[in-house]
Symmetry: C2
Subunit: 140 residues, 2 copies
DNA sequence: GTCTAGATGAGAAAGCTTCTCATTTTCAAT
DNA sequence: ATTGAAAATGAGAAGCTTTCTCATCTAGAC
């Protein structure tokens, strides 16, 4: 099991909760999870874990650069595997579906703007909100 | 007082709390306020208001299109006067300073991306996080 | 001035997240 | 394999922001 050594390399003990959560990110159907999603999925699966542990592990994984944290308009935090390449999000305001995209031109202009205003950029987040194709046709 | 009639035109009674809050947005030193900011400023000023009222009024103002709500990475909501023209934000991660900018090219590309993915865009938010010039020199 | 729908303030409560602490587990050294 | 110390866990308490409830109060039409 290579996740085991991945964690150890980060100075984290390879415990059940950590392995399970990492596994979820790597093999899950979707890429984006709230802490609640993870807690629910694992406990429904019969795996005994506390919500506090979920939050703790997510924070550690984020510090370690393993995952990335976003925050959408509803205020809840969303986590996703950090696969190295940056991307932004399109969120369906009706069904919550999340899609990703990258646009080099937008990236470039962001840096130009930050520089012009005298900022040293550390991060940025762009989210587009809209109604997805599916929700447009299946109106309710 | 024209704010009085502004509110009435929106179907809102011109009450003390509403007038005070609207005034803050119009004449305040900064453009961006959290609910807490508003509550603190007004009560420190000797104006008696409840935090619940602040939230209620902000929600109403937002529904009425008078102000706009954003959410930065710390999860708290920030409100600003809606002056019609859209803009994005650069936030200093150290001192919390917020600056605004608009970039037509970024705006345009966002719409293209949403359309390409089949979304009908309703909103979008772009925030750049970094360290402002002041915080770069006055390190602590 | 009176009346009524609407607004308010206080406190309770909800939702997400973090903290505390007693117990348990990992893992390096035996 | 056993041990021991440091680290991790789960449960519940608690913190923060935001919303809800409800008795009281007020704006504005008459």
């Amino acid at each position: 099991m290579s996740n085991d050594s991945d964690l150890k390399r980060l100075g984290l003990k390879a415990t059940g909760p950590r392995l399970k959560i990492l596994e979820m990110f790597e093999q899950g159907a979707t890429r984006h999870y709230t802490a609640e999603d993870i807690y629910k999925t694992l406990t429904d699966d019969g795996f005994d874990i506390g919500i506090a542990t979920v939050y703790r592990v997510l924070t550690q994984f984020e510090s370690a650069g393993l995952i990335t944290k976003h925050r959408f308009e509803d205020g809840r935090a969303i986590y996703e595997l950090n696969d190295g390449d940056h991307h932004d999000h399109v969120v369906c305001v009706q069904c919550g579906r999340v899609e990703e995209f990258v646009d080099q031109e937008i990236e470039k202009r962001q840096h130009e703007i930050a520089t012009r205003l005298g900022y040293v950029i550390t991060d940025h987040s762009l989210s587009i909100y809209g109604v997805c194709q599916h929700c447009q046709t299946h109106k309710n």
